[in-house]
Symmetry: C2
Subunit: 309 residues, 2 copies
Amino acid sequence: MSKLLIVGTVAFDAIETPFGKTDKILGGAATYIGLSAANFNIPSAIVSVVGDDFPEEYLTMLQKKNIDTSAVEIVKGGKTFFWSGRYHNDLNSRDTLDTQLNVLADFNPVVPSDYKDAEIVMLGNLHPLVQLSVLEQMSSKPKLAVLDTMNFWMDNALEDLMKVIAEVDVITINDEEARQLSGEYSLVRAARAIEKMGPKYIVIKKGEHGALLFHKGQIFFAPALPLEEVFDPTGAGDTFAGGFAGYLTKTGDLSFENMKKAIIHASNLASFCVEKFGTERMENLKREEVQKRLQQFRELTQFEIELTQ
Amino acid sequence: MSKLLIVGTVAFDAIETPFGKTDKILGGAATYIGLSAANFNIPSAIVSVVGDDFPEEYLTMLQKKNIDTSAVEIVKGGKTFFWSGRYHNDLNSRDTLDTQLNVLADFNPVVPSDYKDAEIVMLGNLHPLVQLSVLEQMSSKPKLAVLDTMNFWMDNALEDLMKVIAEVDVITINDEEARQLSGEYSLVRAARAIEKMGPKYIVIKKGEHGALLFHKGQIFFAPALPLEEVFDPTGAGDTFAGGFAGYLTKTGDLSFENMKKAIIHASNLASFCVEKFGTERMENLKREEVQKRLQQFRELTQFEIELTQ
């Protein structure tokens, strides 16, 4: 079976939403990606860094999901990356209250030797040079490299970001970021412009409004499942990316048709993530729940229309 | 074949978008509804009112599309309803610059005798009492009454609006209006609350983010077709409603499965409307273009996923 290599933050988050607030809880892009991809029962490994304030039990929880955490460096005397944010009432926007880079400031990722030939690499949101370093350590070019990033790097490290964008096969960003990166308002045009920067597949995430997959003039759309209640959007984008990469790792089929399915699985898993604070829902997600909701996605979107000429 | 009765404004619009501006051009909810429904080659009639400043050629154009305009009252010495608006850069919001009710102020709709038994009634956006009056003139209860309305009536005539909402089978409103009407932020909850007000089917239009159809706990979603360029959103919601009602009139099948198809046809037709100023695109729309884009909708949304238990 193929292997999935994940790089990204493993972190503490403190979250405020209109529905409540948390103390420091488990967070980080790689954490959400790993938990999401684990639903496909694939071998995966996380490359990341934490301080020795990071509870062993969190790593144990990830290991129990078949995620190799041996490349999560534990810095003695160091403190784990911490992010704190407050969501606005509509949950579509948020303010960052605090960011403490801590051990992330000097992070030199080391890809474990048995993952240097991983077929799929998922570069979670992080400094583009760290993402690039992971790609450079691969012994062979992965079958698929997927990049997730955000506007922060467009504002602060655009040149480095463009380097890693040029090296990957798939980029996942949100609609506003796609507009910023491309200078185009229309997402169709934005995707076309970004395709010229390197990636063959462009995934534009629109949060509650779904996600679009672009490839050589073809477009596929997956809605977000309409939910009664969104509790905490933290990690939804990472969960989406992890579901996408995880499904492709499981199937090994990188055709556009199979990527459509990956987008549906990704949307499906993200729909669970937002139902509880932090990683709670993803840690305890049952196979039957996932299957049931996939069926809901089918009912939500599938139709029969006769075309006449 | 079934007949479609349409009530709504036939009007002059003056539109400004980031791409240009128009003088007084043909507009009005009933105009867009009629032009959209005409794509299904069904008998339809418009109940409306204009002044004698309204060009005969506009009515002739509608008649050539098989739309009966004999119930469009022409008030001698009266002036036609006029609306002027300016869209913001993202085209998702607009300011009303001018509204002149003119002949609409004293409008008493008269349903033509050969449409008093119409199977489908489409109540375009208008004062709720005018909409109610049309329903009351029907000789038999229509198989399906569809109501389109907007926040203006929620703000200014809520009691009357609730009366007509209680009488119809389907309501089409946008997401913000659904939230305002129901007091619920979640669209799933909003739809459930609105269902209790009367309509069995709730259609929530999200503009460029697609449309949702709710019925007894079932949900169907149709995306808007991602377009390279949106030129003028005026009339898109009416075109959507006209496509929905037109397809149901054509097929006569009011099952949920067939309503899904109606929503896809509605989205498809609305995607054309926004490509040119005013009614221009809809006046000249070709059958082949419609069919081709339906195929695009299929490619955009259809997938195969194996479910295992």
